[in-house]
Symmetry: C2
Subunit: 204 residues, 2 copies
């Protein structure tokens, strides 16, 4: 970055429910406080599998899952966001994450990521639907063929694996996670303001 | 209750880390908004064991545990609360929960519960130390022998089992949990204000 703004890293997984309101709100709330957001897609699947989980913890613990669905509905209602329960849940976010990583983090990655979340959790889009992802790329002013080619390149594939390895190295075990450059992590949509406060305090 | 105040139920477990700041702050923050708190001790152990867990999820998932300890330190720092990591963790909160349930929910249960949390998480008290629990009862103006006798009665023992069964029936899977009389549940210390807002909105 060439500016002097404090920075918050936003670590997100397209399958993650609470990442949806976080993705839709992080940029505006950070900008309002002069904080720059770095968009960091990664995959939770490998992290969960390393713990022996073969699905979302919200599926493995149905009582906790029931709470999450109710809580998501409340949050989206409060934030004025449409909300439909993805089917199946969790969605497979691999291709969307590769596409996001193939886009530069200069606003393009953020805008595409928000479009994916809005289509997935706001309108029921299946993340394995390549033509629907292509349509989102076109809407964002990109050439879908070009971005798909980049997303399937070894550079982006290994880049996404490196993102997930970096997440593990940072102590990240869930999403969304906000991270400061001095290594503090804050887990969950409801910790966005706390994370912004942290990076602002450290930059004073 | 004979007043017209809206009510929030505070479901807590003495072994639960995030229940500590919740217990220390719920009464003052509820009172400031005209909300009455009902103190509902219960046990998480049977709920965790029913899922096949033989310890706290923070022990079973050490990366998540590391985050929790850091997060607790940040929260307690922000709230001006002393914080020491209980050893062993989790503590066995059975006797403290029975003592709390033996006290009436007219302020006595709340004051004793806060004293237990402050001693446990603020000063390292072992919750299986019966004489330390007796000293807290004495400090609160109670006759320890009388409260211990009540705590060991069949009424209180079965009452605590009924509390835990009620928690399960309410969809409670962790602590602290705030619950409205219309059945909404809010999980975690960081949801206290949201729970208060809910019960206030429903009572307008």
């Amino acid at each position: 970055m060439t500016d002097d703004h404090p920075v918050v890293e936003f670590w997100y997984e397209f399958a993650s429910t609470y990442s949806y309101p976080a993705a839709m709100r992080v940029e505006a709330r950070a900008a309002a406080r002069g904080v720059t957001v770095r968009w960091q897609p990664f995959l939770l699947g490998p992290i969960f599998r390393a713990q022996g989980w073969d699905s979302s913890p919200f599926n493995l613990q149905p009582v906790k899952g029931a709470y999450m669905w109710r809580d998501m509905a409340r949050i989206c209602d409060a934030e004025g966001l449409s909300f439909v329960r993805p089917d199946p849940f969790p969605q497979n976010g691999l291709q969307a994450a590769r596409l996001a990583l193939a886009l530069p983090d200069d606003g393009a990655r953020a805008a595409f990521s928000r479009a994916v979340y809005a289509a997935e959790f706001g309108a029921g889009m299946d993340l394995t639907d390549g033509s629907a992802l292509s349509a989102l790329l076109t809407e964002q002013g990109h050439d879908p063929d070009q971005i798909w080619a980049a997303a399937q390149s070894d550079a982006v594939k290994s880049g996404l694996r490196a993102q997930t390895e970096a997440a593990v190295a940072h102590g990240i075990f869930g999403a969304p996670m906000f991270r400061s450059e001095d290594g503090e992590i804050f887990w969950g949509y409801d910790r966005l303001d706390q994370a912004l406060e942290w990076v602002l305090t450290r930059n004073r």
